[in-house]
Point group: C2
């Protein structure tokens, strides 16, 4: 497909094909993930990303004005995936089901270096890139609020000890998950060991 | 000081001044930390590092054969600092003293971006650099063994519930500390809030 068939600013009278745009955007993000995962944010160039995504550089720039925008889009994709997982946890029948769902999903993501390695890369980038830092802060706040809510509901149902402070438990839960992820990404733990340790640590924390 | 006064291979009959060498090595590492912290591992060049350390590039290469060696030396320095902190925890009079010592030391380190930001950078680097990954793995194993030992001793003295599994608690403790560090480095939490959250999470975990 050339540029004309995939315009950012459609010519008058020509409707934007939103689903085609979304698919193309996703294709570029997957190319970017693959390049970033192999070479890191700083070593990967726009030309390489375009090649990996099988689009022209000009086409890439119609979707993302800069490499920074791509990094931010990846951080936002991770955030959406985390919130979807929390929603899944909330709708699980029991805390046992919720934990199994969560640990399975986390292990599967951690096993994929284009996710686990890039999560570390996003954190590192957030220390010097205000746009990325903003997404990381928003992610933390949304995840934390959702987890506090879930912990309160589980306490109300008597599944988690009422003695536990929901804020502290949500903080600890996020740290445990980050820690398990980072240990898989750096090769300190195999995904299965990380899952086992994470499951045990969450059980110990929730006293279940 | 020129190259001749600071030789890697001393001329026959000339003793190596070990303390001068150690001081020079430290000076280069501090220059490297400052550059890496400002620009990241990949953007910082050897010439910049040498300038920040106030040594010649040739002198830098007498101590570190490559930027990788510098990164590994920084990771090893962090490991030594962590083990020193664990030794301090072990020799504290009570678990309350130990926690206060630990959280103070961690907060102080987290507040210094040339430490907290570089710790994230070291983790990210470990995902693609086997030399750094090796140090990160060794760090995890040594820290974990030392913490398991401390938890067992605290349990034997009745300060920590005997119900807690020492391995799981050591894993959780390391994840909590990493998580608090990362949140300060990325600007998600102020150092004081991170210290407060960390203290609460450790108390909840150890049920004290």
């Amino acid at each position: 497909m050339g540029r004309m068939s995939d315009p950012v600013r459609p010519r008058p009278g020509r409707p934007v094909d939103h689903s085609a745009r979304a698919a193309r955007r996703q294709q570029i993000m997957e190319g970017a993930r693959s390049c970033f995962h192999q070479h890191g944010f700083h070593a990967a160039g726009t030309a390489e990303i375009a090649a990996a995504a099988k689009v022209s550089v000009a086409n890439l720039y119609q979707y993302f004005a800069s490499k920074d925008e791509l990094i931010i889009a990846i951080a936002e994709e991770d955030l959406r995936s985390d919130l979807a997982l929390i929603a899944m946890i909330k709708s699980a029948g029991s805390i046992e089901d919720a934990m199994e769902l969560a640990v399975d999903a986390i292990t599967q993501e951690a096993r994929d270096p284009s996710v686990s390695r890039l999560r570390l890369e996003v954190s590192t980038e957030a220390t010097r890139n205000p746009g990325v830092a903003h997404v990381v802060l928003r992610a933390e706040q949304m995840q934390r609020a959702a987890l506090v809510d879930w912990i309160r509901q589980s306490q109300a149902r008597g599944e988690i000890s009422a003695d536990l402070d929901p804020e502290t438990s949500a903080f600890a839960l996020l740290c445990l998950i980050d820690g398990a992820f980072a240990r898989v990404a750096t090769g300190v733990l195999a995904p299965e060991s990380a899952a086992r340790e994470l499951m045990r640590a969450i059980r110990a924390m929730f006293r279940i």
